[in-house]
Subunit: 198 residues, 2 copies
């Protein structure tokens, strides 16, 4: 396993509160790995998949003389869809990515009710929909089909955590590589197209 | 033709500068009509197509005590892709919408070089890609396939305006309805799928 270019240190010691910032950086790194993977797919003509911009509620904008518009009051809004979408050989691809430091389960509070609803809508439209889950303690990454996330979520409306065992049973492990780092489209191609052609 | 719920007045009189604001509202209305159309498609299970959030470059965020994070300095960024994307019966749908008050042509400065490049990438991946063009003076709307936009753009790298005659020749007129207001998927179904199945 090669961690290039975002080497993430192992997580075997106890951390003090002042070290929390390291966790934030580690949280970024999975997103960076995915963005880097999507860049690879784009530049190599494999797929066109982008992260959507963060939804922002803009309250006030200043127009300084001779300068470009400056937003001076705005707030983050909760995303109503998933973070990533695009096209791969004509297929609509839609996914969300989550990272956790927990070792045995993923807290379902990572997913909002309208994100689950969005995934249901995408599946009804025959889109390819899934989540990429990263367990940073083990540096393990899984692709879990949206239908399995939805089934688990529906058991108790997302109150309990999803055990790693459930993810291993229903999902697919993605081995990290140098280029691309998280080759999730290999899994999509092998397991999620289900004989579809376009 | 029913303009509900965004009635747009006819444009047969000369406007004074103080009336410019009306134009801004009219400018919004085409976007609103598309958003309303997408809402219709979503709630009726026809398609899942969303407008992407506006890309913002965040420079400074305050964290007021007991309040949610407040963005206090940010700037608008140029979009690197198109505004709308989603899935319709498994097909990846990707488009940009533009409105003009001009009567005989659409200024090509409405499209950025990387948006044109994005459309080329989407077409290579067999995505369904087009632009919706609205001539507010006539209340006429056209769907122009991305390939025809790209061909025109390549003639002079987007310097000159695209004549309405070119749009009429290569595009498809979309009649406004009550529900949905801009039924562009009818055109997609009839003319853009080209025998594709999924």
């Amino acid at each position: 396993m090669v961690n290039y270019p975002h080497k993430v240190s192992s997580n075997k010691r106890q951390l003090t509160p002042s070290q929390t910032k390291n966790f934030a950086n580690r949280g970024m790194s999975f997103e960076k790995m995915i963005n880097s993977t999507n860049d690879y797919y784009l530049t190599h003509g494999v797929a066109v998949i982008h992260k959507k911009p963060t939804p922002i509620q803009i309250v006030r904008v200043d127009y300084p003389h001779r300068s470009r518009a400056k937003i001076v009051e705005a707030y983050f809004r909760q995303a109503s869809t998933t973070d990533y979408s695009g096209v791969y050989e004509g297929f609509y691809i839609d996914f969300e990515a989550k990272e956790t430091r927990q070792k045995t389960a993923l807290p379902m509070k990572n997913f909002h009710a309208h994100q689950i609803q969005h995934m249901e809508q995408v599946l009804k439209q025959k889109g390819i929909c899934f989540v990429l889950l990263h367990f940073s303690s083990y540096q393990e990454t899984y692709l879990l089909p949206a239908i399995d996330l939805i089934h688990f979520y529906q058991q108790d409306n997302g109150k309990k955590s999803m055990p790693l065992d459930y993810i291993r049973e229903h999902g697919y492990s993605i081995e990290q590589h140098a280029f691309p780092q998280i080759p999730y489209l290999d899994i999509v191609k092998q397991h999620l197209l289900g004989g579809k052609t376009i």
